[in-house]
């Protein structure tokens, strides 16, 4: 595809970061990670600390303590703080920061000042070709499209053969087709170069499109680490608004997590009742709220067997009320749950107040949110 490996020694390096940084507002970044060559995705909501982490690696901010290194080259340690211009870190941030007064060609050559002019031109031509922007070389940034600007920004960072590449939502402003084409070019390039690429995003689609490995960052900490499938199939923690429509909302504590199976156990507050729930990015001992729709709960009059559902709770019907065409049952099973039934179900099962029943709740009917 291109001849980078032929023109420069292939870099094979590993990024090591173990830092902490406290902010006056109480936010604390506390992160340890190792990124091998290839794309590592940093996924998290805004304010999770993604950008702060990138700033520390690039040298735009300094951690309070810890160590940052790429292979043998230490960027930050107790007595070391390499200035950003000597780190050899390629950065493409959302605003791109192309030099508006320079042509595409001059933008790309900007980081090559230490090379001879022939070598500069050769490297620039190669990367212009491989990113499909050779026809733009004499244009100014404002004269080209958004997608083209992103290609130029990537090319400008990559042409310097950086030790590590940091991408902070570099494609957030682009449509899906342009985005996937650029990602393809980036992959092709990295197939040759094999450097660690940290790719920050808050888009699930991008995570699956890129996915070699995902780190989920929340509140300054890495809560999950794995393939996109492992990390992302645990549903996102829901917001208060999303949980507002749930008839049953309980406070609970995470008892243990089962990362391999994508599940965890939560004990409902003030009870011995434990529910198996989908895995979310939460640690054992942390507090979560569980929302369960009344219509998602099955009610059985005998202990059900051979079911796939993982949560089967014994309880007693405390009240049965008909509301329009549904029957609202209140069942005490350590906590009181609201269960919605059809009229036919009530009549067929001959349900009555005081009856002993079992409630059946599927793992994925348990929706989780923090606090």
């Amino acid at each position: 595809m291109n001849d980078f490996s032929a023109t420069s020694a292939p870099v094979s390096s590993e990024l090591f970061v173990s830092i902490s940084k406290k902010y006056a507002g109480g936010f604390k970044l506390d992160v340890s990670l190792t990124a091998s060559p290839g794309i590592t995705i940093l996924f998290g909501s805004s304010g999770a600390g993604k950008t702060t982490l990138l700033d520390c690696i690039a040298g735009l901010a300094s951690p309070d303590s810890g160590k940052i290194a790429v292979s043998q080259k230490v960027f930050f340690d107790k007595n070391i703080n390499v200035p950003l211009r000597e780190r050899g870190v390629g950065c493409v941030f959302q605003d791109l920061a192309l030099f508006p007064h320079l042509t595409v060609e001059k933008n790309i050559q900007y980081g090559l000042a230490h090379l001879s002019s022939q070598e500069r031109v050769r490297r620039c031509d190669t990367i212009l070709e491989s990113f499909g922007i050779a026809n733009l070389r004499t244009r100014k940034p404002r004269q080209i499209s958004g997608g083209e600007q992103h290609r130029v920004a990537l090319a400008r960072a990559l042409v310097t053969n950086p030790r590590v590449l940091l991408l902070d939502e570099p494609l957030a402003a682009l449509d899906a087709i342009t985005k996937s084409k650029i990602i393809r070019d980036l992959r092709v390039w990295n197939h040759e170069q094999r450097i660690p690429i940290l790719y920050v995003t808050h888009s699930r689609e991008e995570v699956f499109a890129l996915g070699e490995r995902v780190l989920a960052l929340e509140q300054g900490q890495i809560l999950a680490d794995g393939t996109p499938h492992e990390v992302m199939n645990a549903p996102l923690q829901e917001t208060v608004a999303q949980l507002a429509g749930f008839e049953n909302v309980f406070s609970s504590m995470v008892v243990h997590t089962n990362v391999e199976r994508g599940t965890m156990s939560c004990r409902l507050e003030g009870t011995e009742v434990e529910l198996e729930t989908p895995l979310v990015r939460a640690k054992s001992g942390s507090n979560l709220r569980i929302g369960i729709r009344a219509g998602d709960i099955l009610l059985a009059t005998v202990l059900p067997q051979g079911l796939s559902a993982r949560n089967i709770l014994p309880g007693k019907i405390m009240a049965l009320n008909q509301r329009d065409m549904i029957v609202v049952a209140r069942v005490n099973c350590g906590v009181e749950m609201e269960v919605h039934l059809t009229l036919a179900a009530r009549d067929t099962l001959g349900l009555h107040t005081g009856q002993d029943v079992w409630l059946v709740i599927k793992t994925h009917s348990c929706h989780l949110m923090t606090g």
Binding site: L84, R85, C91, A97, P100, H101, Y110, A113, H114, T160
Partner: protein, 226 residues
């Protein structure tokens, strides 16, 4: 029309413009990017010539250049004469007098350069000096042109400092504005008018050029544009 005075004034203005372009840039860079808490004091000192009466400034410059000051004595030991009432003295006085007219537009345009571009330059391995000349200066061009043009025009028309420091020596320190003053004193209104008109025309052309070049940067005082 005293062409000798006119030629002298032009030489003075070009020289002052050139010197200011060189020395105002580092001062403006420092003012734009320093985080020193007492920076405002330096800004105030640089701006002083705008508000001081030219005679006050001229007086101190004259004292500083004269045979009793260390600077004056040092110059005298080098050249055999003092700086007062010489062309060189005039240049020094004019540079100080026009300093804010260069530093302020320079600093405003440096500070207006997108910080992310400066950081991008650093991540691409550029030194502070390279970033300055390749990114900051090109993107500050309207402010730099305005600063040089304003100090040039300002020097062309200055009177008080010149009179205090230089006196009125034809071919040495007699500038256009002093010539106009002399002609008016001698009741030669026609002569004064010709010279005054020329100065008026020149100043207007200069300012029109500055504003014309800065049109895209927004209409405001050239030294305040961002």
């Amino acid at each position: 029309m005293d062409w000798q005075a006119f030629w002298l004034t032009t030489r003075l203005a070009v020289l002052v413009g050139a010197i200011l372009a060189a020395i105002a840039m580092p001062i403006a860079y420092w003012i734009a990017y320093s985080r020193w808490r007492w920076k405002f004091l330096v800004e105030a000192v640089v701006a002083l010539p705008i508000v001081l009466p030219p005679t006050v400034l001229g007086f101190y410059v004259l004292v500083a250049l004269g045979g009793r000051s260390p600077l004056g004595r040092w110059w005298q030991s080098l050249t055999g004469h003092t700086l007062a009432f010489t062309f060189e003295g005039l240049v020094i006085g004019s540079v100080i007098y026009s300093l804010p007219f260069a530093v302020q537009p320079f600093a405003a345009s440096f500070a207006g350069v997108d910080r992310r571009l400066i950081l991008a330059s650093s991540t691409l391995g550029a030194s502070a000096l390279r970033t300055f000349f390749r990114v900051i200066v090109p993107l500050s061009m309207p402010g730099l042109i305005a600063g040089v043009a304003l100090s040039f025009a300002h020097t062309m028309g200055e009177f008080g400092v010149v009179l205090m420091v230089g006196g009125n020596i034809p071919g040495v320190t007699r500038t256009v504005s002093i010539d106009i003053y002399d002609q008016t004193q001698a009741l030669n209104y026609a002569g004064a008018n010709t010279t005054a008109l020329l100065l008026l025309f020149l100043s207007f052309t200069m300012l029109a050029l500055v504003y014309g070049l800065n049109r895209r940067a927004g209409t405001t005082w050239p030294w305040k544009h961002s």
